[in-house]
Amino acid sequence: MTADHSHSHDHTHPHPVNEDDDMDLTEHEAKFLALKAMLIEQGILDAAEIQARVEVNELKTPHQAARMVARAWVDPAYKARMMADAKQAALELDIPVTEAALVALENTPDLHNVIVCTLCSCYPRSLLGEPPAFYVSKAYRSRTVREPRRVLREFGLTLPEETEIRVHDSNADLRYVVLPQRPDGTEGLSESDLAALVPRDALIGCAFAKTPS
């Protein structure tokens, strides 16, 4: 494998640093490299716009939704707007959600919501970034709709029997984000401190918000 630039063909496009240069080239990667080269040569895409899009995508992290959760915890009017129209509520915090529709699901002592995509890997990527490996695994997709209480127990969430569990199956036109319960002992914390208590998996329903240490 080489990362140098000693090849002879003429071009002016930038080569971004490949942080995986120490890994073997796989057939999938080779198929992708071939596709990318052909798209560039045919003038359909250019390397700079691909890199620019990579950089935009890297700005999408669960912290965006954690900020929404923290705001909802401290501002009942914002929470009402988030429950009514989560996309618009995201925009209030300068978070552009590009999925067709986004619905916020509130967890309470009586109701626990958990998100899955049984058919593929639908996920609110513009809000949370790329989904975690467990979310796209066939085991999670298969089992969560059949035995959610057991799956959640495996994630360390033991819910009282009287708590209803609702599983929401995402699709191409509708994505979800969970509004977890606010932990006890967080009165008086700033929004940024509250946001730090919201892990990615709590936004899917597979974790609780953390309690302050």
């Binding site: 080489t2 990362a3 140098d4 630039h5 090849h7 080569h15 971004p16 490949n18 942080e19 995986d20 240069d21 890994m23 080239l25 057939e27 999938h28 990667e29 080779a30 198929k31 992708f32 490299l33 071939a34 596709l35 990318k36 080269a37 052909m38 798209l39 560039i40 359909i44 895409l45 390397a47 716009e49 691909i50 890199q51 899009r53 990579v54 995508n57 899955v116 049984t118 058919l119 593929c120 890997s121 639908c122 790329e130 975690p132 490996a133 467990f134 695994s137 066939k138 085991a139 999670y140 997709r141 298969s142 089992r143 709709v145 059949r146 799956v151 495996e154 994630f155 199956d169 191409a172």
Partner: protein, 105 residues
């Protein structure tokens, strides 16, 4: 009795859910960027992509993983609509694999 699509796995028996975090590889990040751009430029919808994935055989689907499915589904669409020539793509892929180098594009 209706036939289930290969991707319709909700409710099927399955084993342990993997809990290990997996870092997105560099080419996978680029793939997502490329399909984001192509979706708008070529006006290809998520439903079209899904249809392409659903045409995988059960065996192919069973051993596939997220980014492999994305790539293969998109390639199928691009071959179908004539954006990319399948034979030329196969030749280019073989050339890259033979060289073992990523430094082609």
């Amino acid at each position: 009795m209706s036939t289930r699509l290969v991707s319709d796995i909700g409710g099927k028996p399955a084993g342990d859910i993997p809990r290990e975090e997996r870092r997105q590889l560099f080419w996978e990040k680029q793939l997502i960027a490329v399909v984001n751009l192509l979706s708008s430029k070529l006006d290809i919808t998520l439903d079209e992509f899904r249809r392409a994935v659903e045409e995988m055989s059960e065996e192919e689907y069973g051993r596939s993983y997220l980014y492999g499915r994305r790539l293969d589904g998109w390639l199928r669409l691009l071959f179908e609509n004539g954006t990319i020539d399948a034979d030329a793509h196969a030749a280019r892929t073989a050339q890259i694999l033979a060289s073992g180098s990523r430094d082609h594009v």
